[in-house]
């Protein structure tokens, strides 16, 4: 299990009020690989994912103990500027949520808030990232129409382009294909596989087959606890823990 670590989670616990969503998680996420977080629904998969870019911050009554290191920096350190952490990561949510603006502006949004103003530069990058998300050919003739008019599959690829445009090092996917039809799902999965050379990717899914297709590395959570983690092949073919076996066999879901 030799790999370079990109995100390093140490004794992470997350509470919502009195409820504990994550219990003392310690795990390392490898650099430039696809890590898939699996587990039954409500087991804390999304909470773990969203703690990486501190989107859990805005939940009422949220409390965190422990550390998450990204590039060696503890992101829960009060000194840390949260926008700087988030800029490092692109997020794909369960359903695509295009911002209430045009296709062009959706991709340019992140660039603009981080200070890119020159029209030429914006044009160039919007085109580049729409191509990266394999959406350019479908939308290049209507860049200035509202993004909400795209199909759901197109919207999800737009969200991918939007996330890539801020030049993150990490892509976070929270069940990113759950609202898509099989064809669109396959396209998104394909992109993940092609992009993993350049990005560290972390994906939450409850579809076991999808996890098997994508994962280099697997994290199995159950009721907020880390049960097992390791290289995908090892975990899927030879799980060590009883719970993991049952989950992979499909007796618990």
């Amino acid at each position: 299990m030799e790999f370079k670590t990109h995100i390093s989670v140490r004794n992470l616990s997350v509470f919502y009020g009195t409820q504990q969503a994550l219990k003392n998680i310690t795990v390392d996420i490898p650099d430039k690989k696809i890590t898939v977080i699996i587990g039954p629904s409500g087991c804390g998969k999304t909470t773990l994912l969203k703690s990486f870019n501190r989107l859990i911050d805005s939940q009422d009554g949220m409390k965190v103990t422990g550390q998450v290191f990204v590039d060696g920096e503890n992101i829960f350190d009060p000194q840390v500027e949260v926008t700087h952490i988030r800029k490092k990561m692109g997020l794909l949510s369960q359903r695509p949520y295009p911002l209430p603006m045009s296709i062009y502006d959706n991709v340019a949004y992140g660039l603009r808030i981080h200070g890119t103003k020159a029209k030429k530069e914006l044009d160039r990058r919007v085109e580049h990232y729409l191509k990266e998300a394999s959406l350019w050919d479908e939308v290049n003739d209507r860049l200035h129409t509202p993004a909400s008019r795209l199909s759901v599959g197109q919207q999800q690829r737009l969200c991918l382009a939007r996330g890539l445009a801020v030049e993150p090092e990490i892509i976070l996917g929270d069940e990113p294909t759950s609202a898509l039809d099989p064809k669109s799902s396959r396209r998104i999965e394909q992109r993940f596989l092609e992009l993993k050379e350049e990005y560290t990717t972390v994906i939450v899914t409850h579809i076991l087959r999808q996890a098997k297709r994508l994962a280099d590395y697997v994290i199995f959570l159950y009721l907020g606890e880390l049960i097992e983690h390791g290289l995908a092949r090892e975990v899927f073919e030879n799980p060590q823990k009883e719970l993991t076996k049952e989950y992979i066999r499909g007796t618990i879901s």
């Binding site: 009422d60 359903r95 911002l99 992140g110 808030i113």
Partner: protein
Amino acid sequence: MQRKRFLKDIIAGRLMLVLTVFSGLIVFLMALGLYFRSQPILAVKPLSDLLFSSGWHPLRGEFGFLPFITGTLWVTGVAVAIAIPFSLLTAIYLSEYAPRGLREWLKPLIDLLAGIPSVVYGVWGVLVIVPLIKDYIAPFYGTFSTGYSVLAGGIVLAIMVFPIIIHVSLEIFNAVPYEMREASWALGATQWQTIKHVVLRKALPGVIAASVLGLSRAFGETMAVLMVAGNVAKNPTSVLDPAYPLPALIANNYGEMLSIPLYDSALLLAALILLLVVLFFNIISRIILVRIEGSV
């Protein structure tokens, strides 16, 4: 036995239908009723004369609405200019920044503001705002004012309009999907950038509708304005001048209405104008709001 139950059901249904249709038609009945009652004066004078002339001498048969219309516009304008920025800032704070507990605590207090009777606002205006303008604001600008003025009416109205704009805006902000904010934060946007570029942009039509609802409320509000605006039938030229808005005109003259020919017709025409303007604003903003509700 069974037949009786079904018969009861059918009869009750019919009765309810009648009541429903009646309620749905009240707005039109009101407009029609006022229209017929204002026919006598419209038969004698062209509408444009009534709207754009300034002489108000009922005894001589002169009914010029212009000073009252400008009075209404001034007072409403000042009220809206104060109310919209304050209400929106408060609504954004409550919806996007305030912790949930604080928000749940403050919302009923703001709604309470909507429950205070307009006559109490009037009393408060006379006790606090009018002296404030007379003793501090007017002297500060080197002029004299009795305090009963456009500004007094505008301030009191603004406070009355706050809860309406805030309440509707909060619902609108609430309807902006949380995930949309998340998407913006995830790109590294600050809270304020997210509000400015995403939340407000998405909520803009609704915020306009909320403001228009507030505006139309200010436009038709009567008692409080009647008590603090001064009621001098002249076109105001500054916010420290007195004004005589249309609703105050109607309310103030009810006693004399019947003894002078055409007077009641003129006042009911004023009511009709008020109704039509308010209906216009309300219909526009309700259509926007219904669309928003339908799209979410």
